[in-house]
């Protein structure tokens, strides 16, 4: 005879969803107001990207592609900021463009303060080409030259006379690139940028895409991989800035614990039923 399941276990599995919303919100608000500053260790995928940029010769050009839209700003923007910070600080030439219509102005707001901080001259040390549609077709066109596809940069001045494009006339002349992306744009930087033009790359992706691009790190097609807010926080730590990603990590930790607690809570009644059934089944067998 199966013992009647006490209502408390049943009730725990049937809480109203607004309780969950409340607990998750609290689990985020408290760490934001009272930071815990939990220590963060840097993983090898992120360190590989940092080392590759650090050891590039000073005369090399690096492309940081801002391939994300406002819905992925929280995860991708801190990555883009710390990557541009690192490229400018270590004296390499920085080229920026985006495959997303919304991200031209966002890139501009990132580059301005950094350029002032490291005294980088626009058109000579860094340039923001803004948005152009075409994705893989655009990259194919960039393989032959930057200036035909981007006659004007984001600010509207012509790219023909810029010193950057006389030193690095096409995508093939890049030494390295990082695609900070919220979706599938990484694919064509691998299949065209690397396979056809030979430019090695790494990717900074939203957490959602981590499992998918892990396979490309194993084959060596991606030099490294920054994953989600944690990847951004790790790179901020390597570069030595304390940006939004680091601030968000405490809240991320507590929120994860709360969600895991709820997953277990939801399954308590289920697991109890299974155990009870097994016990009663064994008793009947005896």
């Amino acid at each position: 005879m199966v013992r009647k399941v006490k209502p408390i276990w049943e009730a725990l599995g049937k809480l109203d969803r607004r309780w969950v919303y409340l607990f998750v919100s609290l689990s985020i608000l408290f760490p934001l107001l009272f930071p815990l500053n939990l220590p963060l260790t840097v993983t090898k995928h992120v360190k590989a990207v940092y080392d590759r940029i650090e050891n590039l010769p000073d005369t090399s050009a690096v492309l940081i592609a801002f391939d994300f839209d406002p819905s992925s700003i929280p995860e991708c923007l801190p990555m883009a900021i710390s990557l541009c910070h690192h490229v400018m600080k270590s004296g390499k030439v920085l080229i920026v463009y985006t495959n997303f219509p919304e991200t031209g102005p966002i890139a501009e707001r990132v580059l301005e303060p950094l350029a002032a901080k490291f005294q980088r001259e626009y058109g000579k040390h860094y340039v923001n080409l803004g948005f152009k549609p075409g994705n893989d077709v655009l990259l194919m066109a960039l393989g032959s030259s930057w200036t035909t596809s981007f006659p004007k940069d984001f600010r509207g001045n012509s790219t023909q006379e810029m010193e950057i494009f006389s030193r690095f006339p096409s995508y093939r002349h890049l030494s390295f690139m990082v695609d900070v992306a919220h979706g599938a744009t990484v694919d064509f930087y691998i299949t065209i940028g690397l396979a056809q033009f030979g430019v090695p790359l790494a990717a900074g992706v939203t957490a959602v895409s981590i499992p998918q691009y892990e396979a490309f790190v194993q084959t060596g097609q991606l030099v490294g991989l920054l994953g989600g807010l944690k990847g951004a926080a790790e790179y901020e730590k390597l570069v030595g800035t304390k940006g939004k990603a680091t601030r968000g990590m405490d809240a991320q930790s507590v929120a994860h614990l709360v969600i895991i607690f709820f997953i277990f809570l939801g399954n308590v009644s289920v697991v109890r039923n299974i155990i009870l059934k097994n016990i009663s089944a064994m008793r009947i067998k005896k």
Binding site: L15, R17, V20, Y21, V24, L38, P39, L40, T41, T43, D69, P70, S71, S72, I73, P74, E102, P105, E108, K132, P133, G134, V137, L138, M140, A141, S144, T148, S149, A207, I210, P211, Q212, E214, A215, V217, Q218, G227, G228, K230, M249, D250, Q252, S253, V254, H256, L257, V258, I259, I260, F262, I263, L265, G266, N267, V270, V271
Partner: protein, 205 residues
């Protein structure tokens, strides 16, 4: 007959790319570079067409007084405002166009996906049931990856980050690789059928 011409053009355009990829013929390289610039312009016009079709469909709702047509009126007014501001008035960084983009479009686009965090959390609690072996594997991998990907996980037990990374770079990698191969095959087959005119859904009615 005219449909047949469109299919021929589609085939020729694809053929140029394929021939240029495998053979060093300067003519085809020139043709390909020219075509790439053309396609960028055509794609831009196709996005314009998408925006205009949204404008026309909501305009129609206003004329036909569908229920909630006043919402469409608000939409049409906002759309025209942004287009006139962007193209004719001031596209610069501190103009009204960028102000509206920064303070209206950005926050809403981010918040819409932030909503999902609430739904993910309530789904984790109410729907994530360990019904069978498959759901158990799903449960174990989800919890281990989540605990390993945050600093607090490392404090609880130093092995958590390693386990989480192991799951991502061995079992999950193998399954993702099979999915990637499957997806790649699907795209190659669809590309082949499109160039040969077997796949015609893009032609429309």
């Amino acid at each position: 007959m005219l449909r047949f011409t469109a299919i021929i053009i589609c085939g020729i355009a694809g053929l140029i790319i394929l021939v240029e990829f495998f053979f060093r013929i300067p003519l085809f390289t020139k043709l390909q570079n020219g075509m790439m610039d053309w396609v960028i312009i055509l794609l831009s016009f196709s996005y314009l067409m998408g925006g205009i079709s949204i404008f026309l469909s909501h305009l129609q709702r206003i004329q036909r007084k569908y229920d909630g047509w006043y919402y469409s009126l608000v939409l049409v007014v906002c759309l025209l405002l942004m287009v006139t501001l962007g193209i004719f008035v001031d596209y610069g960084p501190n103009g009204a166009f960028q102000w509206l983009f920064k303070n209206v479009q950005n926050p809403m686009q981010s918040t819409m996906f932030a909503l999902l965090a609430f739904y993910v959390s309530s789904a984790s609690y109410r729907a994530f049931r360990v019904r069978n072996l498959h759901a158990t594997l799903l449960f174990v991998a989800a919890v281990l990856v989540m605990i390993g990907k945050v600093p607090i996980g490392e404090i609880l037990w130093s092995k958590f980050p390693e386990i989480s990374q192991w799951i991502l770079s061995v079992p999950s990698l193998a399954a993702q690789r099979a999915l990637t191969i499957g997806a790649a095959l699907g795209l190659i087959a669809t590309g082949l059928k499109t160039l040969l005119g077997i796949e015609r859904s893009w032609l429309g009615k």
